[in-house]
């Protein structure tokens, strides 16, 4: 639970006033009166709460030019006269009763207690000594304290902890029994409960190193990397969708695999840092190193129609600065987006200097709603790796041969041209299988077109007008309606290859609509179309949208207000790879938005030029020469269509032909007439196709990639993207160690700067985060805020010792965890007492072992693992286990490819929760209830609430009920006796057998369950069929049902849900 800030402040004030009272009372605690006040501990909290918002670091809100956070300013401005409170203006003002003079001003509604006033006065009397903020002084290896009870100490952690406990007059808790300890350490190192055999083995291992052996065994388990990686993914804000608006699928699970692999290899944290922040910038970066840089690609992105790219570019950079600051420096840099940080010494300028490190990306702000938003890398299957790199070399060679032919064939072309007639060019335009041709050049109230070779006419609709054309004088201008409607054209099945093409001129807006369509938009959008969206063009091939459909769009935008020829060819194979889009005869790079067509395209609505059957009119576009072929046109045929106007070039007298037209004609000639070029081109095409096929089987990795330009950013007035002020270059904040000259001014330099020994934050923030994974809270509770508003460390000496030790160990993560779990501190039982609750309510002093409700993923994995359902597979694409219907649909846009949750089957239902598909707009439902974050931004501390909705999950969610049934069945099969059955289940759920008192309770409920299910066999069959897996037919159904409920009961114990 979040501790209200107020409590913290009161606590600090309490400390301060104790100190003060003691001087007055002059009694038992006279000792503390002799100790001078400490700025960070005693004074800073008072000033922070009451004074700094007007007299602090933020220049914008500063009053009277007075800073009380800087001694020299405060003294210079006469607010403080060291040694003389009576002559200090600050003291005069805080003691004043005059509303005009009083500080803090009454209007702020802040009020100093008299104890606080006296503390401030005493501090000035003692010399008004300031201290730098604790976290900004580089940690030194604190001396291990000498304590009275050294017998308790197992490693240095314990000395630091014991010193605090002795100070507080508290004793530690006894060491937890072996079974409890085995369960705890297994959960901490692998995220999973131990197998009963492991518990048994450890409980009976009399070797003095038994515990260490257990720890080593767990540290070497591949589950270790999954478990550590799971925490890291919160910091990295990893998810499987883009996050904003369409919230479409983002294919970047290769980063998750990379993280797991890194932890399992015990990659030192410095290397891990460098690859996360700048793997792409390492010299000769390997594929793996580049994948690490996916860290900065995990942020949420948009492709909302109408969005202004620059606005989002600024937001992404901002997110990257905030995330990096939080994760490595524990700084809440976001405050400085709009103004100087109110409390920490981070200026607005410095924020944008940090932003400059991240502001040089080649990434487009619009994610395209596609699964692979560049910059990306291809991660081929292991089997393809060899061919993948070979093909990459062969393609340029093949291209080179083509180019050579292009260079040498010009004389042959000139010879051909000398004799060519315009019809030679026109004759190359394909006519076979031309189902439909509408030139749309009529310029009259009647439209002429050809249907299956027969001339037809139609009446011009009122919405259409004739405007200047391109391949002929006039063309049809579309305005909220269709030009032409025909029932016969294009009623193709998905197995039918076909092609369609037209000359179009698009308006300069991001509107969307159908240029051509035979689509039943009232019935799941069945059919096909030529579709425009954000001035990209492509097509839909739909049985029912979006689950049974293909959608392919050009990657690049079409020019506005220019004529282009668009052709789409389809091979009838129901795969996006069989759809090609050509602009002006050139095949285009495309984005595949949907590729799941298995059904048909056939429908009963007419073909329409200018819209779908009832919706999506393409307004403001001009169109002519619409063609539909009932076969797949070849690339050269498409080229001929697009070069229709080239017949005019041939017709032009030679002296009047211009160079550009001639070059176009030459391109056409090479691809259409010249046999040798066509052969070479075919070879090239084969290689390109092979490359495409390998790519289709591979996955992608999202990576960072910088532009070659110098990185810059702009200070933005109030953080507004369109209010640029000064340009700034990459630099690090002045209050931190300087950025050495030998470091490059890019992300790689930044990463290395973070890792320098003089950097006060990185090692501290990192060990603190790891500490919190084990002990539930960090030594600094605000793990993402080490700034002046963050919590003070509850044991700074320990934190500093750990930080230095970690860095000097070579940033060895497994070593750090081993030290933590080997400590006596960790091994304590979690028994608490009223005294400890009072003096150490949150266990900050570590007067007992860690006990807290497990994270969402662990709660689910626990049930799966204990019941034997858990899949052992590591890594791979995300999966979709049980989720109630409608969770995604309720929020997703129609057309989002993460709208319909299609539950997986088999093994995929039982994977570890870190593999569950994470849709940002609707995070995994049962985990959401247990405080799993949305992964929209970096999360350093998860909340840990205790709510009725959580009870409903573990009681009723089919994945828990199925797991209970699975475990119940094993118990029934393995044991005959009731008590032994119960303990079979208990061994797996809590790692111990039940006490007699507990057994009595369970036996009693078992009787009730048996009575019910024997009397209501229908209920019993319903219960044992919840979930996909089948139960053993040999076990009587009522018996299985009753035991399922017993297991469900035990699975809901506080002891199960807590670590």
């Amino acid at each position: 639970m979040r501790q209200p800030q107020l409590v913290k402040i009161v606590a600090r004030k309490f400390r301060a006033s104790i100190a003060l009272l003691s001087t007055v009372a002059c009694c038992a605690s006279a000792q503390s009166a002799e100790l001078p006040l400490q700025y960070n501990r005693d004074i800073h909290p008072i000033l922070l709460e009451n004074c700094f918002s007007c007299h602090g670091a933020d220049s914008a809100s500063r009053q009277a030019d007075l800073r009380l956070d800087r001694r020299e300013v405060a003294v210079d401005k006469k607010a403080i006269k060291p040694g003389d409170p009576d002559a200090s203006e600050m003291i005069r003002r805080i003691l004043s009763d005059d509303a005009d003079e009083q500080m803090p001003p009454p209007v702020t509604k802040k009020k100093l207690t008299s104890a606080e006033k006296q503390t401030l006065a005493r501090w000035i009397k003692e010399g008004a000594n300031y201290e730098p903020h604790w976290s900004l002084i580089a940690p030194v290896r604190s001396p291990v304290p000498k304590i009275g009870n050294s017998w308790w100490v197992r490693n240095p952690i314990d000395s630091f902890v014991a010193a605090r406990l002795e100070e507080a007059g508290l004793a530690p808790a006894p060491e937890a029994d072996r079974r409890t300890l085995c369960r705890r350490v297994s959960l901490d190192l692998t995220g999973l409960p131990p197998k009963p055999e492991l518990v048994e083995e450890f409980a009976n291992d009399n070797d003095s190193d038994a515990y260490e052996h257990l720890v080593d065994k767990l540290l070497s388990s591949p589950k270790w990397g999954e478990h550590r990686g799971r925490y890291w993914l919160d910091a990295a804000r990893y998810a499987d969708t883009h996050g904003i608006h369409f919230d479409n699928y983002r294919e970047m699970w290769s980063y998750r695999d990379w993280v797991i692999k890194a932890f399992n290899a015990n990659m030192p944290f410095d290397e891990f840092t460098i690859e996360n922040l700048a793997g792409d910038l390492l010299p000769n970066a390997t594929l793996d190193q580049r994948l690490g840089s996916g860290f900065n690609r995990c942020n949420i992105t948009t492709n909302e129609g109408g969005a202004i790219p620059e606005e989002y570019a600024v937001l992404y950079t901002r997110d990257r600065v905030e995330t990096t600051s939080k994760v490595w420096m524990g700084l809440t840099a976001g405050c400085a987006v709009c103004h100087d940080h109110k409390f920490d010494p981070l200026s607005q300028k410095e924020f944008y200097q940090l932003a400059a490190f991240f502001n040089n990306t080649t990434q487009s702000p619009m994610d395209g709603n596609i699964q692979n938003t560049p910059p990306i890398v291809t991660v081929p299957l292991a089997a393809d790796e060899k061919r993948w790199s070979e093909v990459a070399k062969e393609i340029p060679v093949a291209k080179g041969v083509m180019d050579a032919r292009r260079n040498e064939a010009r004389p042959a072309f000139d010879e051909w041209l000398a004799k060519a007639k315009p019809e030679d060019v026109a004759a190359e335009v394909p006519t076979a299988d031309l189902d439909f041709l509408a030139p749309l050049d009529d310029d009259s109230n009647t439209i002429h077109y050809t249907l299956l070779g027969k001339p037809q006419t139609a009446k011009l609709p009122k919405t259409v007008e004739w405007r200047p054309g391109h391949v002929s004088a006039k063309a049809a201008y579309l305005n909220q309606g269709a030009v032409l409607t025909d029932k016969t054209v294009g009623d193709y099945d998905a197995k039918q290859p076909f092609s369609y093409a037209a000359w179009v001129k698009l308006p300069a807006n991001d509107a969307s609509g159908s240029v051509l369509a035979r689509m039943d938009d009232r019935r799941d959008y069945r059919g096909w179309d030529m579709w425009v969206e954000g001035r990209r063009i492509g097509g839909h091939f739909i049985d029912s949208w979006p689950q049974n459909a293909m959608k392919i769009m050009t990657r690049d935008q079409l020019p506005a207000d220019q004529w282009v020829h668009v052709a789409i060819t389809y091979d009838g194979g129901s795969k996006a790879a069989g759809v090609h889009i050509f602009i002006n005869g050139q095949p285009q790079p495309t984005n595949v938005i949907a590729d799941a067509l298995t059904g048909t395209l056939k429908n009963s609505v007419p073909f329409k030029i200018g819209q779908r059957n009832t919706t999506s009119p393409m307004s403001g576009a001009t169109i002519q020469d619409v063609r539909v072929y009932s076969r797949q046109l070849s690339e050269s045929e498409v080229a001929s269509l697009a070069k229709l106007s080239l017949s005019a070039v041939v017709a032009t007298p030679p002296e009047k032909r211009n160079e550009a037209d001639l070059n176009s004609l030459y391109d056409w000639w090479l691809t259409t007439i010249d046999d040798s070029y066509r052969a070479l081109s075919k070879n090239h095409e084969t290689l390109v196709r092979e490359q495409a096929d390998i790519q289709a089987r591979s996955t992608s990795g999202y990576v960072m990639q910088d532009k070659p330009d110098k990185a810059v950013a702009y200070i933005l007035n109030r953080g507004e993207y369109d209010q640029r002020k000064d340009e700034v270059a990459p630099a690090t904040p002045a209050f931190l160690p300087s950025f050495a000259d030998d470091l490059p001014r890019n992300r790689l330099g930044l990463a290395k700067w973070l890792l320098r020994p003089e950097n006060p934050l990185t090692a501290r923030v990192t060990v603190n985060r790891f500490w919190s994974e084990v002990f539930g809270n960090g030594l600094v509770k605000t793990a993402g805020d080490f700034g002046v508003t963050g919590d003070l460390p509850c044991n700074q000496e320990l934190l500093d010792w750990l930080a230095v030790d970690f860095r000097e160990s070579g940033w060895d993560i497994k070593r750090l965890f081993k030290m933590m779990v080997m400590s006596a501190t960790y091994r304590q039982s979690s028994i608490t007492t009223p005294e400890k609750l009072e003096k150490d309510g949150e266990n900050r002093l570590l007067s007992r072992g860690p006990r807290f409700r497990m994270d969402a993923e662990m709660v689910r994995d626990y049930a799966l693992s204990a019941s034997g359902l858990l899949s052992e597979k590591i890594g791979g694409p995300s999966v979709k286990p049980y989720q109630p219907p409608g969770v995604w649909e309720a929020v997703a846009m129609i057309g989002s490819n993460t709208r319909d949750y299609k539950q997986d089957t088999g093994d995929a239902l039982y994977r570890r929760s870190m593999y569950t598909f994470w849709k940002r707009a609707a995070p995994p439902a049962s985990m959401d209830v247990f405080n799993a974050p949305t992964r929209e931004v970096c999360t350093m501390v998860r909340e840990r609430t205790n709510t009725p909705l959580q009870a409903l999950v573990t009681l009723n969610d089919p994945q828990f009920v199925e797991a209970a049934r699975h475990l119940a069945q094993q118990a029934i099969e393995a044991r005959q006796n009731t008590d032994r059955r119960i303990n079979f289940i208990a061994d797996r759920l809590i790692g111990r057998s039940l006490h007699p008192e507990e057994l009595t309770i369970v036996r009693d409920t078992l009787k009730k369950f048996e009575a019910h299910y024997n009397a209501s066999p229908d209920d019993a069959s319903k219960l044992v069929t919840d979930g996909e897996s089948k139960s053993d037919a040999k076990v009587p159904v009522p018996q299985l049902a009753a035991w399922t409920m017993v297991t469900n009961e035990l699975m809901n114990l506080d002891e199960v849900l807590n670590k």
Partner: protein, 486 residues
């Protein structure tokens, strides 16, 4: 003897590491009174939390009807007869004044004006002009206050709806419902404090994204997040017992869980264990309350006369409106309903009448229903979108049909109940329904006003986060719009 030393002697006496032993209590623990520890448990269910109000609230509960996509104000409420003479003429630059546009239309060569094709009628004592496609609203203009001068900063849906709900364009802050839950606490022990329902629109041509982040608790404690109340399957996720588990079986299993947890508590004394026992009990009560809440078959036929037959169909706006009334009756503090598909970039004529038909009668019914039950005085009802729409047409324009792009500079909302004036109109816009000419109300002013009615001074209703006193209305000054309050 010092505690550490005492402990040492205990450890020597007892062998805690011996195999098989489990959590033996120490001598000191034997005398422990469990109840004293239980009292230390912190729990929302352990008694209702105290409200943090600064003064007596006028509104106890809120029903917020959000029209996702941004309804076109000039086709519904902001009557602009002068525009009839401007058909297909360009929007004067003197009106637009260089305002940024979305990239949907910023490339358009022209900004031709599309007058509303709908007929308006002046209604009620207040003389509010209402469009012909809102026949029910015409009958209740005197029950509500219209603000025709709402304005916002964002021009795209995601940032605009986030601003409307959380006071900031960037995600991550608590929404109005979460703030209300945090500040006012719960009115009942069996149902969530803050409920969210997503209604289905009849037409789905241009449905916009909404996401769970809109009802998140942001930096407020997690229990203040909205609980999604679903229209298909379990109304609240996992509220129903598994198939084949009767209430008796569930009761027996909970008794078992609780008894075992009590034993565990006696050994470890973790206050969270006691909290858990209470939460399991609350879950059980919630399981019983929800079916009663959703049992709309018990409503008399007169209810369906008011709300329309659509109210019988789960998931319709009418159905959620009826459920909202039943929730308010049962003490749900804040009900948020989203109705989608108001994003009329094109085909206003084809779509808007269907959108209005979805909500017009149910809104009327909800207000009348609350009134007749004496609930309207204490229940604030809010209707509105995240921004308005442009007077100029996006895409093609004809007298029969047109499209409208997003417009942040003015839009219309209405409110009633909870101490708001009734039969009043605030704010005026220019002839183009483009700029506000009188009484502008920014989103943050709207938030300040709602908080005021809930008993909060928006400047003092804060939560400490990142060292700052965070508030719904943010750092730019906001004002309570007293003109609309009675």
């Amino acid at each position: 003897m010092n505690p550490f030393e005492e402990f040492r002697q205990n450890v020597t006496r007892r062998h805690f590491l011996s195999a098989g032993s489990h959590l033996l209590g120490t001598a000191a623990l034997a005398s422990l009174a469990p109840n004293a520890l239980a009292a230390a448990a912190t729990s929302p269910a352990a008694g209702l939390p105290k409200s943090l109000t600064h003064f007596a609230p006028k509104a106890k509960q809120v029903i917020y009807l959000h029209m996702v996509g941004g309804p076109p104000q000039q086709d519904l409420y902001d009557y602009k007869p002068v525009m009839d003479g401007w058909f297909d003429k360009d929007l004067p630059e003197s009106v637009r004044m260089g305002q940024r546009l979305t990239t949907m239309t910023s490339g358009q060569a022209r900004f031709p004006i599309a007058p509303s094709k709908y007929k308006f009628e002046q209604c009620g004592q207040s003389g509010m002009w209402v469009s012909e496609i809102l026949p029910y609203m015409k009958k209740m203009v005197d029950d509500v206050v219209f603000i025709r001068s709402m304005h916002t900063d964002a021009i795209n849906h995601e940032p605009a709806i986030t601003l409307m709900q959380t006071g900031n364009q960037v995600t991550g802050r608590p929404c109005l419902g979460a703030w209300s839950s945090y500040g006012l606490g719960s009115l009942n022990e069996n149902l969530p404090t803050f409920v969210v329902m997503v209604a289905k629109s009849t037409n789905t041509e241009q449905v916009q994204a909404i996401s769970a982040r809109l009802w998140s608790s942001g930096f407020l404690p997690g229990q203040h997040a909205g609980v999604s109340f679903r229209t298909a399957g379990d109304p609240i996720l996992y509220i129903n017992d598994p198939p084949g588990v009767s209430r008796d079986v569930r009761r027996a299993s909970l008794d078992g869980v609780n008894a075992l947890n009590e034993l565990n508590f006696k050994q470890l004394h973790d206050p969270q264990t006691e909290t858990r026992i209470q939460q399991y009990e609350m879950a059980y009560r919630m399981q019983s309350s929800v079916p009663d809440l959703t049992d709309i078959a018990s409503e008399p036929e007169s209810t369906y006369k008011m709300y329309g037959d659509a109210a019988k169909q789960p998931g319709t706006f009418a159905n959620t409106a009826l459920l909202a009334r039943r929730m308010v009756e049962r003490g749900v503090r804040f009900v948020q309903i989203y109705h989608n598909n108001w994003d009329t970039h094109g085909n206003v004529a084809g779509r808007l009448p269907m959108q209005c038909a979805d909500v017009d009668q149910p809104c009327h019914a909800l207000v009348q229903d609350l009134k007749q039950r004496g609930l309207l005085d204490e229940t604030l009802v809010i209707w509105g979108g995240e921004f308005g729409r442009t007077v100029y047409s996006q895409g093609g324009l004809s007298h029969q049909n047109y499209g409208r792009d997003h417009h942040p500079r003015c839009f219309t909302m209405w409110m009633t109940g909870g101490g708001f004036k009734r039969g009043t109109i605030l704010g005026e816009t220019d002839d183009f329904s483009y700029n506000i000419t009188k009484d502008p109300v920014h989103v943050r002013d709207f938030h300040a006003t709602v908080l005021n009615q809930l008993g909060f001074d928006h400047d003092r209703f804060t939560y400490k986060y990142l060292g700052l006193d965070q508030k719904l209305t943010g750092v730019i000054p906001a004002r309570v719009v007293h003109e609309v309050l009675s």
